[in-house]
Amino acid sequence: MNRSRLLLLGAEAVAQGALDAGISGVYAYPGTPSTEITEYIQRSALARESGVRSSWSANEKTAYEAALGMAYAGKRSLVCMKHVGLNVAADAFINSAITGVNGGLVLAVADDPSMHSSQNEQDSRVYGRFAMVPVLEPASQQELYDAMFHAFDLSELVKLPVIVRMTTRLSHSRAGVGRREAVAQNPLHAEYAPERFVLMPHNARVQYRHLLDLQPKIEALSESSFLNRAVEGSGPLGVVAFGIGFNYVMEARRMHGIECRVLKVGQYPPPRRQVDELFAACDEVLVVEEGYPVYEELFRGYFGSPKIRGRMDGALPRDGELTTDLVASALGATPAETTAVPEIVINRPPELCRGCGHRDLFEAINTVMREQVEHHVFSDIGCYTLGALSPFSAIHTCVDMGASITMAKGAADAGLRPAVCVIGDSTFAHSGMTGLLDAVNDRTPITVIIADNDTTAMTGGQCSSASGEKLERICRGLGVEEAHICVITPLRQHLDENIAVLREEIAYDGVSVVIARRECIETAARKKRRATAKGE
């Protein structure tokens, strides 16, 4: 048996690669499809032995800033998040390109085209361009692993953070990965460099100029990157295939016997010389990107180019994840004849687990809200978002982390009564606290229901930064009146009393918090299994 290969998810290949590249810490907030990177490091014996710090951060911004601090101190740090998490961390991220780094700093960001578990399909490569830092987009699990070494070396070479971008499909797909010799961690080496790290305008202007001056060097490094290469071919059609778009092109090429030239791009900015060569050799160029048509748009230019095809002219769909079939069709292949899905097949959407406390909470909320003329419930991101679906249809908004409280506040400011919101314990810790402070400062009449299941459940049960009594203390500390911080247990036998508490707090003309506390049944079952296993 070939024991030298590990069978790893793409996310796990990032984790193993980062460990072997000598990171001293990973910082992250869970988010599909990026969660497994940090989980792998948390389970890793190698990480434990070498003292790699890995516990969850309160949100992506705190994670990013801590990773920047570790890099300031000369060590290599990894920070992981899903695409929308980078919106939360964007302030820190963009400005870290101005300060630069000492030890290597790699941002592993996982995008979710087709929105399997997300509210949009924003493309993190745009952030790379925005901050003007190198972006790597490996096409396979092995490339992801190898790219982590490259990313840290590159980060320390140009003294900038480096993005490693992947998408759901690669993050959540397994393949055999061969390991290389591990690199030792950097020694502690913090330099006094206020001219770089104190971003007052006079320093920031110099640093920004430096970042601009670095751009030609960054582009030159793309020309020699192992992630970029030309695949020989013939004919008038050529393809520029970015990231895992390359995989679908190669698969379609083999399946349909297409001989076209292909330029694989896995390091940005794209290698200009190689792109020029392909364009010179071909009459027509298909641009294949897993995400937004970022480079297709750039290649087309403002006035357009008739030889370019891709997502913007309908050769490929404008949205959604790519497949071999879509790429094959764009390359002119005839689609295979297939069996249709019989009409009796109905959708099977996800649902709250049987026995989940959120079910009992939503039943109580629905009972109380049915008594109201206006029964809007603002909500947030987590398992409880499933309360929007049948049979509950209990919530009416879910926009971004923490928006339940602040949107309820704004609606209350507009005159909406009652203004009720539901947020999970982990989401409250992530981005709910500051919104609650706003409401307290304004004495806004809102009722905040914190569904405290003692975990970050939707992503698989990670530790929550604030649950249990810590939540009461936070609410008191933020200035919510003691008398209006109530704790209920969302269980069937408590339904009547829970309804009574909710009714009373919703009627209160000020800030009230109702904490619905019951452990996630999945997490509880997992703990029990572990305890049994240990007992044997």
Partner: protein, 196 residues
């Protein structure tokens, strides 16, 4: 040797355990693997699938193209229909006949079987019953793997070694039940192959 396999079921039914055994056996056979799975929101009682590709040549895509799956292995009857567009003309469908009813309007199982039969010649497996006979209803997924084994391109012995490797930490009894379940599925499948 190259096989494209779609594993289908409902979140929580254990298709990833099936995938893990096939992965182990394929890695043991020195083959290349790509196995795409579903994490996140859909895992909560929704339809889930895993695209599993094994080959002795380089694989590029993590996803299987339409009309190229050699096998659809479904642990739930309705879910076996959902992925028919991926099935190759000569492909096989192996499905459990035990419905998982968690949605309104779930069609009668007879109608599902009829729809399946009008498209392919499926191998129907009373997985839960066979798993109970093997010692635990929870081993249904290994019954399904056994029934599908002849279509995976992997030797049954290697798959059994994979079961041992993956369930080993749970004790000898669990391994034994799962091997028995696997063999019950395999026996059913082999009997079906000789009669058809």
């Amino acid at each position: 040797m190259e096989k494209n396999i779609i594993l289908a079921g409902v979140g929580g039914q254990g298709i990833l355990s099936i995938a893990a055994v096939i992965d182990w056996a394929a890695l043991d056979a020195g083959l290349n693997i790509r196995q795409a799975e579903v994490h996140g929101m859909s895992q909560r009682g929704g339809a889930v699938q895993s695209h599993l590709r094994i080959s002795d040549r380089e694989l590029f895509a993590d996803l299987i193209a339409h009309g190229t799956a050699d096998l659809i292995l479904s642990v739930e009857p309705l879910e076996s229909l959902r992925y028919l567009p991926w099935l190759a003309p000569e492909g096989h469908v192996v499905t459990s006949t035990d419905p998982f009813v968690n949605v309104q309007g779930y069609p009668p199982v007879e109608r599902i079987i009829k729809a399946l039969r009008s498209a392919v010649q499926p191998l129907l497996v009373p997985a839960e019953q066979l798993a109970r006979e093997a010692g635990s209803a929870r081993a249904s997924n290994m019954v399904m793997l056994g029934a599908a084994a002849p279509f995976t391109g992997l030797e049954p012995e290697r798959l059994e070694a994979g079961i041992e490797a993956l369930f080993g930490s749970k004790g000898a009894q669990i391994v034994e039940i799962n091997i028995r379940a696997f063999r019950k599925g395999l026996t059913l499948s082999n009997a079906n192959l000789t009669t058809s």
